[in-house]
Structures are given as structure tokens and as C-alpha cells.
Point group: C3
Chain length 137, copies 3
């Protein structure tokens, strides 16, 4: 079994942001030389997510609006009594999940027509990290 | 490391539907001859999900009602300005997640008493695909 | 490829509870002797979740409050016509997801600074099980 691990760093200009990282994941897969296996892409923070969806401007904004509605900022979260102000980012992370596992077949991400991998930042403007681990043969 | 990959196709009669695919996954596992490892079951579309829950008629309808409430159809999604009309299906996909990873022990899906694998369609009436990749030994 | 499987049992005193199981997972990883690979931690029940987030009292209570709002108990769930009374626990399980996949690098859970693994119980006061499967080399 081959294993290849890399880390991606992000530091978004805005508090929230959605970045298509599919090209970086394809590059890491190529370097790993794995032909059959799996790629784990997983946020190392609890206020960011990795998800797969469409790279279309409208749906990205719809996702952001939807997250603001289902997991809004509120002063009164108990987490904020610990001096933090990002409880909504924790809830958004739980809603969107922090990881995806991408199948690799014949050396390629085995994706359907519209699948793209996104890094979703919910508490940015500081350095955050994502682990990418390829396993297989 | 053994690896075995198959694709399942779906074309639901209704827009939304919930199909128990556990027997198909068990059949693919058997063909793979993997005794110890993992089965990734992952939707290749961004308007469908794979999830694990109970095969009980009432809860399936409850899940559908709940999704219609938390991620309802709305004319005014920005995604619809691109000519699409399925933004709610994207949001339902994100809420329910598009994949599960099933442990394999002694050649069997290592499940608790009520766990069943479902394909959830949120924008059907056309051909959609799911990848099933078994890895292990 | 090495493979090592263990099961954790839980029986919470309250209906709902959030238990940090990171030390148990680290112990299982150590026993497995896997240095490079993946640990799957997956609930074997459909009314409990495994998630990764912060071990901070306030955010844990915020998560519980948020789940009670987005997936509340209701008498009128159709699942309850089957004699059950835990439909909300099924919906909470779907919202929070039932599994995480933890990368292993140099024999350690390859985590960011605040990541901790939790067992979330939504229908407790009875025996429930979690599977932990380590694969790698």
C-alpha cells in the first residue's frame, strides 16, 4: 500500500469563503503515483469544511445564504462566554462536514460531471490547514 | 491491497426517492472477495445523497418532510438565474452528504442491527450514477 | 495492508450526551501498530453520531440546543406510528453524520489543534456500539 500526505494552507481575506481546490488535489494525486485507491481531503480546523458540489457562482452564494439561515451568528451562544465569537462557524462546519473521500480509478479522481472539491471557510482571516492523504497502489 | 470498483445507475420515476441499495452493495462486496477493508459508496452527482438509516416507511417520509422544510424549493435561489431549477436538490445533497464508508469484517458489511444503505434522489427522472469502491484484502 | 478492528460500547445515563472518545481511539491506534493509514470511527446505530469538534463545554451545549431546534422532537412524526418515539434522534443522526475518517501519520491521529472525536448520543439509556477500524501499514 502506497501512502502520500500533503497539507494545504489557506488564509482567506474575508471571514467566509468558498475555494475550488480540485486542481490542487489532482496535482497531489499525480505526485502520489497512486492508480487505484482513495484520497482523503479533511479540514484540520473545526470552523471550516470540505465539500463536493458545483462550481457555479449562484449556487455558492445560495449555499452561503442557506448556512447563514440554518446556523446564524448569535451573540448569545454559550461558546462566546469562553471569549470566542465564532460559534456559528462551528455549527456551519458540522452542517457541511469537514471531509470528503474521493475514489481514485486509473490514476484519476473518479468523479461525475459536475463534482468539484471545495474548501469552505467560516472563520477566516487567519492561517488554516487541510490534510490530503492518498492511499492505494 | 485488493481494489474492486463498480457503478450503479438510477433513474427514478419521481423527482425525489429513497432506495435501499444494501443488497446491491453486499453483492459487489461478495464479488470483490475482500474480507477485511472498506467499501466507499459515493454519489457521482451533486443533487443526490448516500446515507445510512432505517428501512422503515414512516421515517423515510419523515426524512423527506424534514428536508423539504430545511432545504425547500424556492424560485429566488441565485442558481436558478443560470437556467437551473434544482438549487434545493444541491442543498439537500449537502445536508445529507453524498457518501458513506462501510467497514468490512470477515467478508461482511460490519453493520449494527438497523443500518441500511440508501440512495436518496433529489432531482430525478434522469440517469444518475453511484460509485462503489471496495478496498482491502 | 494491516487491519485492526475494535468495538466501543456506550450506555448513557441521559437521553442525549456528548462524549470525547479521542483517548480510546488513540489507544486502539497504538494497539494496531499502524503508522500510515486511516481510522474509521463509525456509529453502528441510526440514532447516534460520531463527529469532530472542540471539547469546550459551551459549544457542546450550543450544538445540543441547535440540534433541538433543527431536528426537534415532535409527536406527529410518521415513524412514531410504528410504535417508536425517537424520530428526532434519526434526524439528528443524519444532520451530524454517523462517521469520521481520521488520517494516521507517523503512528498518530493527524489532527489540527482543536480536533477531538465525539460520540453523540441522541437516544440513549441503552447499550449502543461504535466500530473502530484501522487500516494501513
Amino acid at each position: 500500500m502506497k501512502s502520500h500526505t500533503e497539507y494545504l494552507w489557506f488564509n482567506t481575506k474575508k471571514k467566509r469563503g468558498y475555494i475550488n481546490i480540485t486542481p490542487q488535489i489532482e496535482g497531489i494525486l499525480k505526485k502520489s503515483a497512486v492508480k487505484e485507491g482513495l484520497v482523503l481531503v479533511s479540514a484540520m480546523h473545526i470552523t471550516a469544511s470540505i465539500y463536493i458540489n458545483d462550481d457555479e457562482e449562484g449556487i455558492i452564494q445560495d449555499i452561503d445564504n442557506w448556512l447563514q439561515k440554518l446556523a446564524p451568528y448569535r451573540d448569545e451562544y454559550l461558546h462566546h462566554q469562553s471569549g470566542e465569537s465564532n460559534a456559528d462557524a462551528h455549527l456551519k462546519n458540522l452542517l457541511m462536514h469537514h471531509q470528503v473521500l474521493v475514489p481514485v480509478t486509473k490514476g484519476r479522481l473518479d468523479f461525475g460531471p459536475w463534482q468539484q472539491i471545495f474548501y469552505a471557510e467560516f472563520d477566516g482571516q487567519r492561517k488554516k490547514r487541510v490534510i490530503v492523504k492518498v492511499i492505494g497502489e
